[in-house]
Symmetry: D2
Subunit: 358 residues, 4 copies
């Protein structure tokens, strides 16, 4: 299978480029009979879309989704669900220079070496714009998992550059322009303003969680649940690290601490992050992502052009100074897609699972 | 595809249980014409096998591999290469108790909930013993990549419990029983001895590196090279975190620092870890793994039995007090399998790649 | 992988329903750098589209294709090529009755039992209209194989109902409204007119051929070239039989006759149909398909409704009295898609193949 | 996925060569909890194995199967089931000549062109001996489908060379050395004796049937049930044609005849062969295979050697004069593997199916 399809049974095939006529995806394998309309998908697209605050790219895209197939009289038919999003704010500009140079930290260099040519407009295929179809597909997965098992997904920012963000409450997240679980906004706005003024960018850490996950999902030996979660998260643009549960902290833990004690009422802690031996345990799935600083900055950087000659690259245009800010809904979607696929895979081999016990 | 096959074109199908008659794998898709003999595989199996020092499990397994197919007159024929390793030191003991209880931190609980039954002998399918066939398959991948592109793989321990291990030289690794890149051994032996005396276990961090990697490997949007690396590493027993390049440190980096400058002579740093936009850049691939402390310890832990009644679990038997110690050759093998698969995938779409330039 | 994707490396994901807003496909894995424009695809779509003679359905669809992605400045970039065809002549009518009944010989009954619901408008997903995206994708495969190896595809009608059609010349096919390799048209028009007057339908046999096929394509043991050809052909709407080379005639042949003699100048016959041991031999690929008579006829047939009550079903509307008439370009496309996929698979494992020698 | 794995969810990976140390397979994805022992598999292996009459190859292979994994205390655990069959009667002989020549009608020529080398001993990987692991895996599928849905499989010879075989009763098949559904044996023995005396071989036609098949199996658009059946059947050694239901006869049928009428008591005929729109209808699955005459004959045939020089090839050694004779149990196994895989795929998307109504 080629690389633009995600999933073994709930298969999402993504297409499009940042400045082409349209982006979208085809979802194949969705269970039939679920009520589905554009509005079910649009909500998450709106959470992800650009232009919602001054801290993200100012590109103006309504990201209105059209369902082209797979739904009849408001219900999924079990046939492929094609989702189409027309690009609208592709500014016409001269890409001649950018097409000839490799921006440091960008996919330009590696795409060029792989394919021998590339679509340079707005990053082409490597643009984070292509996470929109992923989010759309994730909304379908979330709906089915929610209705079938009561599974819920949420994500928040846990660190912005050097600023560790305390966890206050999930309730702050929808109102916080940084998806941070805090009431305070000023501290982060000031930080971002200073960064922008310095013509620089910063990284972020995102926490993602799924609750109400049935036990038993995951396919050892190689398609373990945590393996597939790590795959989709690391595959998200700019991610450089993924942790499950205690993650990197587990290096210095003792076995007598890390192994979550079990009682008749359930687990007493969740260092495992909801996955044991690569299979869900019924605990919350807990994932953490590291997102690198945006490579598109106004500060000049040394690089080379396609002929190997040295150049200084400055990336103008509309860019997110911290791509992590809009990553929360994307990370939720990715986690939902993995769980959806594994729910179907589990059902194939082992039969229908019971809903997780509260 | 079911979960015991790794790879899209260089496909490794793993089988076996810790205490069954045999373990092994079938490699399908290996290019024809490569010289291959058992000795090419045995070397890495010997590096991984138990019983090589007092700091790892004392189970005595020669792990002698037999090539059952796919090789004729010393060369691969392009047909499946079946590798067989007979289990020899499965001690007969009573698994009645362990079969009825869930060891905290173990796969017992989740396997039970997934399949409704499990092979409890030595952990059954969830045992780290099943990494042996992975290592064997990895040796085949290493050989082909080495001959074709000059790609080389190496791994070392970077942290043992709380002990950060300074990087002195790769040359120490083969002689160091902890796969540590240092001349000193005593510090780590003392640490492990104290741990064992405390009936406890600890985690580790492993660094893995591939050099001589061709640029252009990786299949966006979803099968990026770093995504597949993260998948196999997180899928390794006990791993809770994976980093590529600067990894978690990139959160607090600035874009002006993180994006590796390019000059006519090559990249000036490697924060990317050899992957840009999910495609190899030709730089060294740099990966770091977090391994949790072994769950099998002599310290009693609260748990439940299969009927939900509370029990205290003590795990006797032969176990690694730090599973990270033997992880270095496994991590190399996993990285080699991912690169091998992507080398073939790249060749399929884009034609033969040129060997990486020195 | 779900069922709407064809191919392992050159992956075509098909979507849409007969009367939904649009149909189309996403091609993932196309080699980069090939010149491609809508016109390259439109030609084959025009050969397949309805309304071209009075012997096929009178539905009026321009089947104009739009390339949504994967092409930049007239060349494929190696990223997914999304192709969109808007449905235009979906007549609004009452599908209430047809939605409640199972037409004999149709997919109604089995779709209902599989999914629990179905889109009844014009056959929904089971309509032969969904062969249009397949033909579009096939045109891309044909172009690449033609440029790379000189491979060419052609198909013709070999039998129409009881009428065996003599093979006169491939040159007649483009001008013959039945895709028959004969100058005569009248005989077949008379036959079809009588059939239509009788409110009935008939079957057909189609011959498909590929020339200029490199030797070495096919992946034993289970993905042999002939196996994959048989799969796509049998998967085409209404096909009930597939032959390769001598096909069913080989039952009564002797081994001394069937086994094609080889000389220094090449093979002396082609009973094998271009495939030996599941791998192409470099000879022409020869395939024959049996297509059943259209189930949609005006003659009343006994059936049941969704509640199990007996009904008499008459299928009105616009239908092909012989679906085989338009099958030739579809069969060519399917053969091209299989060869394309196997060309890439072969290149992955064995390296670039030399063009076939004339 | 490489070509030696069959199935999407019930995955059978086949390995081995005719004269290597062993052949076998790994079944991944088998549902857990089913009772399974070697005896369940051995029965079908014994039906297929050589040496059972003077009309098949005299190679003496017990084909004793060993279960290496995936079964604990007599039940499947859901983990891979590895099956091993040691080759025992590989006669040591000089393969020097055969290794340098291409036998007409054989895989020699195409394997050589694909891989650049081949294992010539007894046909190597292209030998029909590799159907033994397929039969073994099929026995596991048959058992599960039989217990779950009451599905049963049977096959018989329908034509031997020019001799059409009348269908008398399925009861004759187990006692007839040709798997023919007739009491008479003499007619077929005389035919085969004359053939052998003439140093020649003949083809055969095999009928395969599955009863008790649930409605709803099959994954349009490209993985239809009949498509996957055609694939596995055409992929069987020597098969040149596959029909479903009325098959080739449907060309000359009228739509008013072919479309099976439905009544409240069920279908009134089965021209469809149990598949409508690529999905099982609950009727019996009916398949017919054409098997070409064996290419290994004592009559000299013109060919070339690997240097392109003309040679006369005579194939000595132990060979089946009609490979169709032993094909019946293999065809049953292949049909079972397809239905098993589709049963799991259907369950994944649509939930557990009810057993078919009698």
């Amino acid at each position: 299978m080629s690389g633009s399809t995600l999933g073994t049974l709930f298969c999402v095939t993504n297409f499009g480029e940042s400045h082409g006529p349209a982006i979208g995806c085809v979802i194949d394998g969705c269970p039939p009979g679920m009520q589905l309309a554009e509005a079910d998908i649009q909500h998450d697209l709106d959470r992800r879309r650009p232009g919602t605050s001054r801290h993200v790219t100012q590109r103006n895209e309504p990201d209105a989704v059209e369902i082209l197939s797979g739904v009849y009289e408001g219900r999924t038919t079990g046939t492929p669900i094609a989702l189409l999003i027309r690009n609208q704010d592709q500014r016409s500009k001269d890409y001649g220079e950018i097409a000839q140079q490799f921006r440091p930290g960008h996919a330009d260099y590696s795409y060029w070496h792989k394919y021998g040519l590339r679509d340079p407009r707005g990053g082409g295929r490597s643009s984070a714009r292509l996470t929109a179809p992923t989010v759309a597909a994730g909304a379908v997965a979330k709906k089915w998992l929610g209705e079938k098992y009561g599974t819920r997904f949420r994500a928040c920012m846990a660190q912005l550059g050097e600023l560790e963000i305390p966890f206050e409450s999930w309730e702050h997240v929808p109102r916080n322009p940084f998806f941070a679980p805090v009431a305070d906004v000023q501290r982060y706005e000031d930080y971002m303003d200073a960064l922008r003024k310095a013509h620089d960018s910063c990284g972020a850490r995102i926490r993602v969680q799924a609750t109400g996950v049935p036990a038993g999902l995951g396919e050892p030996l190689y398609d373990k649940l945590d393996a597939d979660i790590a795959k989709v998260m690391m595959g998200l643009n700019a991610v450089k690290g993924v942790e499950i549960g205690a993650g990197f902290a587990s290096v210095a833990q003792r076995g007598s601490v890390h192994g979550d004690a079990i009682t008749p009422r359930g687990f007493e802690s969740n260092h495992a992050g909801g996955v044991l031996g690569g299979i869900s345990s019924g605990q919350d799935i807990e994932v953490s992502l590291t997102i690198k600083p945006t490579s598109s900055i106004l500060t000049p950087r040394p690089s080379i052009d396609i002929h190997g000659a040295p150049v200084q690259v400055v990336t103008k245009g509309r860019h997110d100074p911290c791509v992590g800010i809009r990553a929360a809904p994307i990370a939720e979607a990715l986690l939902a897609l993995v769980l959806m696929d594994h729910a179907l895979r589990h059902r194939a081999q082992c039969g229908d699972v019971a809903p997780v016990r509260p």
